[in-house]
Amino acid sequence: MSKREIIDSRELNIALNRLCCKLIENHGDFSNSILIGLQPRGGQVLSRLVKLLEAEYGVGSIRTGLLDITFYRDDFRRRPGHLQPNKTKIEHLVEDQKVVFIDDVLYTGRSVRAAMDAILSYGRPSKMELLTLIDRRFSRDLPIQPDYKGRQVDSIASQRVEVLWEEVDGRDAVLLTEPAS
Protein backbone atom coordinates (compact mmCIF):
# COMPACT_ATOMS: atom_id res chain seq x y z
CA MET A 1 0.00 0.00 0.00
CA SER A 2 1.39 3.43 -0.92
CA LYS A 3 0.21 6.89 0.10
CA ARG A 4 0.72 10.01 -1.97
CA GLU A 5 -0.05 13.57 -0.87
CA ILE A 6 -2.18 15.16 -3.58
CA ILE A 7 -3.19 18.36 -1.76
CA ASP A 8 -0.99 20.10 0.79
CA SER A 9 -1.88 22.31 3.74
CA ARG A 10 -1.67 25.58 1.76
CA GLU A 11 -3.90 24.32 -1.06
CA LEU A 12 -6.36 22.90 1.44
CA ASN A 13 -6.67 26.25 3.17
CA ILE A 14 -7.21 28.08 -0.11
CA ALA A 15 -10.01 25.63 -0.89
CA LEU A 16 -11.60 26.13 2.55
CA ASN A 17 -11.48 29.92 2.15
CA ARG A 18 -13.06 29.69 -1.28
CA LEU A 19 -15.85 27.50 0.13
CA CYS A 20 -16.49 30.09 2.85
CA CYS A 21 -16.83 32.88 0.27
CA LYS A 22 -19.25 30.83 -1.83
CA LEU A 23 -21.36 30.00 1.23
CA ILE A 24 -21.54 33.71 2.16
CA GLU A 25 -22.63 34.60 -1.42
CA ASN A 26 -25.59 32.21 -1.15
CA HIS A 27 -26.44 32.36 2.55
CA GLY A 28 -25.65 35.96 3.58
CA ASP A 29 -25.74 36.15 7.37
CA PHE A 30 -26.85 32.49 7.65
CA SER A 31 -29.99 33.51 9.58
CA ASN A 32 -32.11 30.97 7.67
CA SER A 33 -29.39 28.37 7.19
CA ILE A 34 -28.14 25.38 9.13
CA LEU A 35 -24.83 23.69 8.35
CA ILE A 36 -24.98 19.95 8.97
CA GLY A 37 -21.79 17.86 9.14
CA LEU A 38 -22.22 14.26 8.01
CA GLN A 39 -20.75 11.78 10.50
CA PRO A 40 -18.12 10.58 10.95
CA ARG A 41 -15.79 12.80 8.85
CA GLY A 42 -17.94 15.78 7.89
CA GLY A 43 -17.85 17.25 11.40
CA GLN A 44 -14.18 18.13 11.00
CA VAL A 45 -14.81 20.06 7.76
CA LEU A 46 -17.77 21.78 9.42
CA SER A 47 -15.83 22.97 12.47
CA ARG A 48 -12.99 24.27 10.28
CA LEU A 49 -15.43 26.16 8.03
CA VAL A 50 -17.27 27.68 10.99
CA LYS A 51 -13.97 28.75 12.57
CA LEU A 52 -12.93 30.46 9.32
CA LEU A 53 -16.33 32.07 8.74
CA GLU A 54 -16.30 33.55 12.23
CA ALA A 55 -12.64 34.57 12.42
CA GLU A 56 -11.88 35.70 8.86
CA TYR A 57 -15.27 36.75 7.50
CA GLY A 58 -17.00 38.08 10.62
CA VAL A 59 -20.05 35.84 10.36
CA GLY A 60 -21.42 35.21 13.86
CA SER A 61 -23.74 32.67 15.45
CA ILE A 62 -23.89 30.08 12.69
CA ARG A 63 -26.29 27.25 13.51
CA THR A 64 -24.76 23.82 13.04
CA GLY A 65 -25.53 20.16 13.63
CA LEU A 66 -24.16 16.66 13.16
CA LEU A 67 -26.07 13.96 11.34
CA ASP A 68 -25.38 10.23 11.46
CA ILE A 69 -26.80 8.27 8.54
CA THR A 70 -26.12 4.71 9.72
CA PHE A 71 -29.80 3.74 10.12
CA TYR A 72 -30.60 5.04 6.62
CA ARG A 73 -27.81 3.30 4.69
CA ASP A 74 -28.76 1.11 1.74
CA ASP A 75 -26.08 -1.53 2.44
CA PHE A 76 -27.36 -2.78 5.82
CA ARG A 77 -26.91 -6.60 5.89
CA ARG A 78 -25.17 -6.37 2.51
CA ARG A 79 -21.62 -5.79 3.68
CA PRO A 80 -19.49 -7.79 6.07
CA GLY A 81 -18.89 -6.55 9.60
CA HIS A 82 -20.67 -4.14 11.88
CA LEU A 83 -22.09 -0.68 11.16
CA GLN A 84 -21.64 1.34 14.35
CA PRO A 85 -23.84 4.42 14.56
CA ASN A 86 -22.30 7.77 15.55
CA LYS A 87 -23.79 10.60 17.52
CA THR A 88 -26.46 12.76 15.91
CA LYS A 89 -26.83 16.26 17.30
CA ILE A 90 -29.55 18.38 15.69
CA GLU A 91 -30.60 21.05 18.15
CA HIS A 92 -32.21 23.50 15.73
CA LEU A 93 -35.48 23.13 13.89
CA VAL A 94 -34.79 22.42 10.22
CA GLU A 95 -38.38 23.12 9.13
CA ASP A 96 -38.32 25.78 6.39
CA GLN A 97 -34.58 26.32 6.80
CA LYS A 98 -31.84 26.04 4.19
CA VAL A 99 -29.78 22.97 5.09
CA VAL A 100 -26.23 22.55 3.80
CA PHE A 101 -24.80 19.03 4.16
CA ILE A 102 -21.06 19.09 4.71
CA ASP A 103 -18.74 16.14 4.09
CA ASP A 104 -15.06 15.60 3.38
CA VAL A 105 -15.15 13.31 0.33
CA LEU A 106 -18.00 12.79 -2.15
CA TYR A 107 -17.65 9.38 -3.79
CA THR A 108 -20.66 7.22 -4.75
CA GLY A 109 -23.25 9.67 -3.41
CA ARG A 110 -24.98 6.96 -1.36
CA SER A 111 -24.25 8.66 1.99
CA VAL A 112 -25.78 11.87 0.70
CA ARG A 113 -28.89 9.98 -0.45
CA ALA A 114 -29.16 8.58 3.07
CA ALA A 115 -28.61 12.03 4.59
CA MET A 116 -31.46 13.52 2.56
CA ASP A 117 -33.69 10.75 3.87
CA ALA A 118 -32.46 11.15 7.47
CA ILE A 119 -32.88 14.91 7.74
CA LEU A 120 -36.58 14.64 6.86
CA SER A 121 -37.10 13.00 10.27
CA TYR A 122 -36.42 16.42 11.76
CA GLY A 123 -38.72 18.44 9.49
CA ARG A 124 -38.96 19.71 5.93
CA PRO A 125 -36.11 22.03 4.99
CA SER A 126 -36.92 24.69 2.38
CA LYS A 127 -33.77 23.69 0.54
CA MET A 128 -30.99 21.14 0.77
CA GLU A 129 -27.50 21.76 -0.59
CA LEU A 130 -24.30 19.75 -0.58
CA LEU A 131 -20.79 20.96 0.17
CA THR A 132 -17.88 18.59 -0.21
CA LEU A 133 -14.21 19.33 0.31
CA ILE A 134 -13.11 16.70 -2.20
CA ASP A 135 -15.20 15.58 -5.16
CA ARG A 136 -14.07 12.24 -6.59
CA ARG A 137 -15.11 12.66 -10.20
CA PHE A 138 -16.59 9.89 -12.38
CA SER A 139 -17.41 7.70 -9.39
CA ARG A 140 -21.08 8.39 -8.68
CA ASP A 141 -23.62 5.58 -8.30
CA LEU A 142 -26.51 8.05 -7.98
CA PRO A 143 -27.53 11.30 -9.70
CA ILE A 144 -26.09 13.49 -6.93
CA GLN A 145 -23.69 16.43 -7.49
CA PRO A 146 -22.23 18.93 -5.03
CA ASP A 147 -23.33 22.59 -4.92
CA TYR A 148 -19.97 23.57 -3.46
CA LYS A 149 -16.73 21.65 -3.94
CA GLY A 150 -13.25 22.43 -2.65
CA ARG A 151 -11.22 20.35 -5.10
CA GLN A 152 -11.87 17.71 -7.72
CA VAL A 153 -9.84 14.53 -7.68
CA ASP A 154 -9.66 11.86 -10.37
CA SER A 155 -9.25 8.42 -8.88
CA ILE A 156 -10.17 4.82 -9.55
CA ALA A 157 -12.38 2.62 -7.38
CA SER A 158 -9.49 0.70 -5.78
CA GLN A 159 -7.89 3.92 -4.50
CA ARG A 160 -8.85 5.73 -1.29
CA VAL A 161 -8.94 9.45 -0.72
CA GLU A 162 -8.23 10.49 2.86
CA VAL A 163 -8.37 13.98 4.36
CA LEU A 164 -6.04 14.68 7.30
CA TRP A 165 -6.68 17.48 9.83
CA GLU A 166 -4.15 19.17 12.01
CA GLU A 167 -6.43 18.96 15.09
CA VAL A 168 -6.77 15.18 14.74
CA ASP A 169 -3.93 13.88 12.57
CA GLY A 170 -1.22 16.47 13.21
CA ARG A 171 -1.26 18.09 9.77
CA ASP A 172 -3.62 19.27 7.02
CA ALA A 173 -3.35 17.27 3.79
CA VAL A 174 -5.25 15.08 1.34
CA LEU A 175 -3.74 11.66 0.62
CA LEU A 176 -4.41 9.22 -2.21
CA THR A 177 -3.89 5.65 -1.07
CA GLU A 178 -3.03 2.97 -3.63
CA PRO A 179 -3.72 -0.62 -2.66
CA ALA A 180 -0.82 -3.06 -2.72
CA SER A 181 -0.68 -4.62 -6.18
Binding site: D68, T70, F71, Y72, F76, R77, R78, P80, G81, H82, L83, Q84, P85, N86, K87, T88, I90, D117, L120, S121, Y122, G123
Partner: protein, 312 residues
Protein backbone atom coordinates in the same frame (compact mmCIF):
# COMPACT_ATOMS: atom_id res chain seq x y z
CA UNK B 1 -16.29 -2.17 17.31
CA UNK B 2 -17.17 -5.59 15.96
CA UNK B 3 -20.46 -7.40 15.63
CA UNK B 4 -22.30 -9.21 18.44
CA UNK B 5 -20.68 -12.54 19.27
CA UNK B 6 -24.08 -14.28 19.31
CA UNK B 7 -26.80 -14.88 16.71
CA UNK B 8 -29.64 -14.99 19.26
CA UNK B 9 -30.33 -13.17 22.50
CA UNK B 10 -31.25 -16.09 24.75
CA UNK B 11 -29.82 -14.86 28.02
CA UNK B 12 -27.24 -12.55 29.53
CA UNK B 13 -25.10 -15.59 30.35
CA UNK B 14 -24.23 -16.00 26.65
CA UNK B 15 -23.10 -12.38 26.19
CA UNK B 16 -19.59 -11.01 26.61
CA UNK B 17 -18.87 -7.68 28.31
CA UNK B 18 -18.10 -6.32 24.82
CA UNK B 19 -21.52 -7.44 23.55
CA UNK B 20 -23.23 -5.66 26.44
CA UNK B 21 -21.18 -2.52 25.86
CA UNK B 22 -22.07 -2.62 22.14
CA UNK B 23 -25.80 -2.99 22.86
CA UNK B 24 -25.79 -0.14 25.41
CA UNK B 25 -23.78 2.18 23.14
CA UNK B 26 -26.04 1.45 20.18
CA UNK B 27 -29.13 2.00 22.35
CA UNK B 28 -27.87 5.48 23.16
CA UNK B 29 -28.12 6.43 19.48
CA UNK B 30 -31.57 4.87 19.21
CA UNK B 31 -32.72 6.91 22.19
CA UNK B 32 -31.83 10.00 20.16
CA UNK B 33 -33.99 8.63 17.32
CA UNK B 34 -36.93 8.33 19.75
CA UNK B 35 -36.70 12.02 20.55
CA UNK B 36 -36.94 13.17 16.93
CA UNK B 37 -40.14 14.66 15.52
CA UNK B 38 -40.36 11.55 13.29
CA UNK B 39 -39.32 8.62 15.46
CA UNK B 40 -38.83 6.01 12.80
CA UNK B 41 -35.84 4.78 10.79
CA UNK B 42 -36.00 2.51 7.72
CA UNK B 43 -33.23 0.11 8.82
CA UNK B 44 -35.22 -3.15 9.20
CA UNK B 45 -37.64 -2.58 6.34
CA UNK B 46 -36.82 -5.99 4.82
CA UNK B 47 -37.13 -7.89 8.13
CA UNK B 48 -40.25 -9.63 9.42
CA UNK B 49 -40.54 -10.28 13.14
CA UNK B 50 -42.98 -12.58 14.93
CA UNK B 51 -43.83 -11.78 18.54
CA UNK B 52 -44.80 -15.05 20.18
CA UNK B 53 -46.20 -14.60 23.67
CA UNK B 54 -47.08 -17.85 25.36
CA UNK B 55 -47.48 -15.99 28.64
CA UNK B 56 -49.21 -12.74 29.53
CA UNK B 57 -47.32 -9.53 29.04
CA UNK B 58 -48.33 -5.96 28.47
CA UNK B 59 -45.33 -3.70 28.68
CA UNK B 60 -42.68 -6.04 27.25
CA UNK B 61 -44.86 -6.90 24.27
CA UNK B 62 -45.76 -3.27 23.65
CA UNK B 63 -42.15 -2.23 24.03
CA UNK B 64 -40.91 -4.84 21.55
CA UNK B 65 -43.68 -4.04 19.09
CA UNK B 66 -42.92 -0.34 19.25
CA UNK B 67 -39.18 -1.00 18.85
CA UNK B 68 -39.88 -3.16 15.80
CA UNK B 69 -42.18 -0.57 14.24
CA UNK B 70 -39.74 2.28 14.92
CA UNK B 71 -37.20 0.23 12.93
CA UNK B 72 -39.73 -0.26 10.08
CA UNK B 73 -39.86 -4.05 10.46
CA UNK B 74 -43.00 -5.96 9.52
CA UNK B 75 -44.60 -7.39 12.64
CA UNK B 76 -46.91 -10.32 13.31
CA UNK B 77 -48.29 -10.93 16.79
CA UNK B 78 -49.30 -14.19 18.30
CA UNK B 79 -50.56 -14.92 21.76
CA UNK B 80 -51.12 -18.37 23.18
CA UNK B 81 -54.60 -17.65 24.43
CA UNK B 82 -55.98 -17.36 20.91
CA UNK B 83 -53.88 -19.99 19.14
CA UNK B 84 -53.61 -23.65 18.20
CA UNK B 85 -51.36 -24.21 21.24
CA UNK B 86 -54.62 -24.66 23.08
CA UNK B 87 -55.39 -27.46 20.61
CA UNK B 88 -52.19 -29.37 21.50
CA UNK B 89 -49.71 -28.17 18.86
CA UNK B 90 -46.02 -28.44 19.86
CA UNK B 91 -43.77 -25.40 20.16
CA UNK B 92 -41.61 -26.38 17.18
CA UNK B 93 -44.67 -27.02 15.00
CA UNK B 94 -46.20 -23.70 15.96
CA UNK B 95 -43.03 -21.82 15.20
CA UNK B 96 -42.25 -23.70 11.99
CA UNK B 97 -45.72 -22.83 10.74
CA UNK B 98 -45.01 -19.20 11.43
CA UNK B 99 -41.56 -19.39 9.86
CA UNK B 100 -43.08 -20.83 6.68
CA UNK B 101 -44.50 -17.37 6.31
CA UNK B 102 -40.86 -16.15 5.90
CA UNK B 103 -40.26 -14.65 9.32
CA UNK B 104 -36.66 -13.58 10.05
CA UNK B 105 -36.76 -13.05 13.79
CA UNK B 106 -38.81 -14.38 16.67
CA UNK B 107 -39.36 -12.56 19.95
CA UNK B 108 -40.67 -15.11 22.41
CA UNK B 109 -41.98 -15.17 25.95
CA UNK B 110 -42.61 -18.65 27.30
CA UNK B 111 -43.39 -20.08 30.76
CA UNK B 112 -40.72 -22.81 30.42
CA UNK B 113 -37.06 -21.99 31.19
CA UNK B 114 -34.87 -22.70 28.15
CA UNK B 115 -37.70 -22.46 25.60
CA UNK B 116 -35.77 -19.89 23.56
CA UNK B 117 -32.64 -22.00 23.56
CA UNK B 118 -34.60 -25.05 22.43
CA UNK B 119 -36.20 -23.07 19.64
CA UNK B 120 -32.90 -21.63 18.43
CA UNK B 121 -31.66 -25.18 17.81
CA UNK B 122 -34.68 -26.13 15.71
CA UNK B 123 -35.62 -23.16 13.57
CA UNK B 124 -33.80 -20.87 11.19
CA UNK B 125 -34.60 -17.49 12.69
CA UNK B 126 -32.90 -15.17 15.17
CA UNK B 127 -34.48 -15.70 18.59
CA UNK B 128 -34.90 -13.00 21.21
CA UNK B 129 -35.87 -14.23 24.66
CA UNK B 130 -38.52 -11.92 26.12
CA UNK B 131 -38.65 -13.94 29.34
CA UNK B 132 -38.56 -17.71 29.85
CA UNK B 133 -40.16 -18.78 33.10
CA UNK B 134 -38.09 -17.85 36.16
CA UNK B 135 -34.89 -18.16 34.08
CA UNK B 136 -33.83 -15.04 32.16
CA UNK B 137 -35.23 -11.76 30.86
CA UNK B 138 -32.20 -10.34 29.07
CA UNK B 139 -33.72 -7.19 27.56
CA UNK B 140 -35.04 -6.12 30.99
CA UNK B 141 -31.53 -6.47 32.44
CA UNK B 142 -30.09 -4.52 29.51
CA UNK B 143 -32.58 -1.67 29.90
CA UNK B 144 -31.97 -1.61 33.67
CA UNK B 145 -28.21 -1.39 33.03
CA UNK B 146 -28.77 1.35 30.44
CA UNK B 147 -30.87 3.32 32.96
CA UNK B 148 -28.27 2.90 35.70
CA UNK B 149 -25.47 3.96 33.37
CA UNK B 150 -27.49 6.98 32.28
CA UNK B 151 -27.93 8.04 35.93
CA UNK B 152 -24.55 7.10 37.44
CA UNK B 153 -22.34 7.47 34.34
CA UNK B 154 -20.89 3.97 34.61
CA UNK B 155 -21.72 0.45 35.75
CA UNK B 156 -18.18 -0.18 36.95
CA UNK B 157 -18.19 -0.02 40.75
CA UNK B 158 -21.90 0.85 40.98
CA UNK B 159 -23.57 -0.70 44.04
CA UNK B 160 -26.90 -2.23 43.09
CA UNK B 161 -29.30 -3.87 45.54
CA UNK B 162 -31.99 -6.11 44.08
CA UNK B 163 -34.78 -6.34 46.61
CA UNK B 164 -37.77 -8.63 46.93
CA UNK B 165 -38.94 -11.86 45.34
CA UNK B 166 -35.57 -13.08 43.99
CA UNK B 167 -36.47 -16.76 43.66
CA UNK B 168 -39.31 -16.28 41.17
CA UNK B 169 -37.63 -13.48 39.27
CA UNK B 170 -36.02 -13.85 35.86
CA UNK B 171 -35.30 -10.13 36.08
CA UNK B 172 -33.13 -10.74 39.16
CA UNK B 173 -31.04 -13.47 37.57
CA UNK B 174 -30.43 -11.56 34.32
CA UNK B 175 -29.61 -8.41 36.28
CA UNK B 176 -27.12 -10.19 38.54
CA UNK B 177 -25.35 -11.82 35.58
CA UNK B 178 -25.16 -8.57 33.62
CA UNK B 179 -24.09 -6.32 36.47
CA UNK B 180 -21.34 -8.74 37.53
CA UNK B 181 -20.03 -8.91 33.96
CA UNK B 182 -19.86 -5.12 33.84
CA UNK B 183 -17.99 -4.73 37.10
CA UNK B 184 -20.83 -3.59 39.37
CA UNK B 185 -21.25 -4.75 42.97
CA UNK B 186 -24.52 -6.58 43.54
CA UNK B 187 -26.55 -7.38 46.63
CA UNK B 188 -29.79 -9.32 46.77
CA UNK B 189 -32.14 -8.63 49.63
CA UNK B 190 -35.35 -10.36 50.63
CA UNK B 191 -36.96 -12.78 53.05
CA UNK B 192 -34.98 -16.04 53.41
CA UNK B 193 -37.83 -17.89 51.70
CA UNK B 194 -37.58 -15.70 48.58
CA UNK B 195 -33.77 -15.70 48.17
CA UNK B 196 -32.40 -18.88 46.56
CA UNK B 197 -29.63 -20.63 48.47
CA UNK B 198 -27.21 -20.72 45.52
CA UNK B 199 -27.22 -16.89 45.23
CA UNK B 200 -23.84 -16.40 46.95
CA UNK B 201 -22.21 -18.66 44.34
CA UNK B 202 -22.86 -15.90 41.76
CA UNK B 203 -20.57 -13.56 43.69
CA UNK B 204 -23.31 -11.36 45.14
CA UNK B 205 -23.90 -10.25 48.71
CA UNK B 206 -26.98 -11.69 50.38
CA UNK B 207 -28.85 -9.51 52.88
CA UNK B 208 -32.15 -9.96 54.65
CA UNK B 209 -32.48 -6.48 56.15
CA UNK B 210 -33.85 -3.74 53.89
CA UNK B 211 -32.34 -0.90 55.93
CA UNK B 212 -28.82 -2.36 55.62
CA UNK B 213 -29.33 -2.84 51.89
CA UNK B 214 -30.42 0.72 51.13
CA UNK B 215 -27.67 2.21 53.28
CA UNK B 216 -25.13 0.21 51.24
CA UNK B 217 -26.41 0.74 47.69
CA UNK B 218 -26.44 3.48 45.01
CA UNK B 219 -29.38 1.89 43.23
CA UNK B 220 -32.27 -0.14 44.68
CA UNK B 221 -34.10 -2.31 42.14
CA UNK B 222 -37.39 -3.16 43.84
CA UNK B 223 -38.87 -6.33 42.36
CA UNK B 224 -42.54 -7.14 42.23
CA UNK B 225 -43.91 -9.80 44.53
CA UNK B 226 -45.04 -12.42 42.02
CA UNK B 227 -48.18 -13.74 43.63
CA UNK B 228 -49.05 -15.69 40.47
CA UNK B 229 -45.89 -17.82 40.68
CA UNK B 230 -46.13 -18.46 44.41
CA UNK B 231 -47.68 -21.90 44.73
CA UNK B 232 -47.11 -21.99 48.49
CA UNK B 233 -47.01 -19.24 51.13
CA UNK B 234 -43.53 -17.68 51.25
CA UNK B 235 -44.32 -15.03 53.87
CA UNK B 236 -47.10 -14.67 56.46
CA UNK B 237 -49.02 -11.79 54.86
CA UNK B 238 -48.79 -8.82 52.51
CA UNK B 239 -48.83 -6.52 55.54
CA UNK B 240 -45.87 -8.38 57.02
CA UNK B 241 -43.97 -8.17 53.72
CA UNK B 242 -44.74 -4.46 53.43
CA UNK B 243 -43.52 -3.85 56.99
CA UNK B 244 -40.22 -5.65 56.39
CA UNK B 245 -39.45 -5.02 52.71
CA UNK B 246 -41.67 -2.16 51.50
CA UNK B 247 -39.63 0.93 50.57
CA UNK B 248 -41.09 4.18 51.94
CA UNK B 249 -40.24 7.88 51.81
CA UNK B 250 -39.20 7.64 55.47
CA UNK B 251 -36.47 5.19 54.43
CA UNK B 252 -35.23 7.48 51.66
CA UNK B 253 -35.40 10.71 53.70
CA UNK B 254 -33.31 9.15 56.47
CA UNK B 255 -30.45 8.19 54.11
CA UNK B 256 -27.27 10.27 54.05
CA UNK B 257 -26.99 10.11 50.24
CA UNK B 258 -29.80 9.92 47.67
CA UNK B 259 -30.28 6.57 45.96
CA UNK B 260 -31.90 5.71 42.64
CA UNK B 261 -35.07 3.60 42.86
CA UNK B 262 -35.95 1.24 40.02
CA UNK B 263 -38.83 -1.15 39.43
CA UNK B 264 -39.36 -3.43 36.41
CA UNK B 265 -43.14 -3.02 36.64
CA UNK B 266 -45.96 -3.65 37.03
CA UNK B 267 -45.85 -2.05 40.48
CA UNK B 268 -47.87 -3.34 43.41
CA UNK B 269 -48.26 0.14 44.89
CA UNK B 270 -48.14 -0.01 48.66
CA UNK B 271 -46.45 -3.42 48.72
CA UNK B 272 -42.82 -3.34 47.51
CA UNK B 273 -42.79 0.46 47.24
CA UNK B 274 -45.24 3.13 48.32
CA UNK B 275 -46.97 5.43 45.85
CA UNK B 276 -44.93 8.40 47.13
CA UNK B 277 -41.66 6.60 46.35
CA UNK B 278 -42.88 5.48 42.92
CA UNK B 279 -43.77 9.06 42.01
CA UNK B 280 -40.75 10.70 43.67
CA UNK B 281 -37.62 12.15 42.05
CA UNK B 282 -35.67 9.10 43.26
CA UNK B 283 -37.66 6.79 40.97
CA UNK B 284 -36.60 6.28 37.36
CA UNK B 285 -39.36 3.79 36.61
CA UNK B 286 -40.72 5.69 33.60
CA UNK B 287 -37.19 6.29 32.27
CA UNK B 288 -36.78 2.51 32.36
CA UNK B 289 -39.88 2.14 30.16
CA UNK B 290 -38.61 4.74 27.67
CA UNK B 291 -35.14 3.20 27.63
CA UNK B 292 -36.70 -0.22 27.06
CA UNK B 293 -37.74 0.72 23.54
CA UNK B 294 -34.27 2.09 22.68
CA UNK B 295 -32.50 -0.98 24.10
CA UNK B 296 -34.81 -3.37 22.23
CA UNK B 297 -34.20 -1.43 19.01
CA UNK B 298 -30.47 -1.88 19.56
CA UNK B 299 -30.85 -5.62 20.17
CA UNK B 300 -33.00 -6.12 17.06
CA UNK B 301 -30.68 -3.97 14.94
CA UNK B 302 -27.54 -5.83 16.04
CA UNK B 303 -29.11 -9.28 15.59
CA UNK B 304 -30.60 -8.37 12.20
CA UNK B 305 -27.18 -7.15 11.11
CA UNK B 306 -25.84 -10.67 11.57
CA UNK B 307 -28.39 -12.07 9.13
CA UNK B 308 -26.49 -11.06 6.02
CA UNK B 309 -28.49 -11.19 2.82
CA UNK B 310 -27.80 -14.44 1.05
CA UNK B 311 -27.31 -16.29 4.35
CA UNK B 312 -30.66 -15.75 5.94
Amino acid sequence: MSELSVNHLLGIKHLTAEDIQLILDTAKEFKEVLNRPIKKVPTLRDITIANLFFENSTRTRLSFELAEKRLSADVVNFSAASSSVKKGETLVDTVNNILSMKVDMVVMRHPNPGAGEFLSQHVDASIVNAGDGAHEHPTQALLDAFSIRERLGSLEGAKVAIVGDIVHSRVALSNVLLLKKMGAEVMVCGPTTLVPKYMHTLGVRVEHNLQTAIEWCDVANMLRVQHERQDIKYFPSIAEYRAQYGLTMEHLDALEKPIVVMHPGPINRGVEITSEVADSEHAIILDQVENGVAVRMAVLYLLAEKRKLGNS
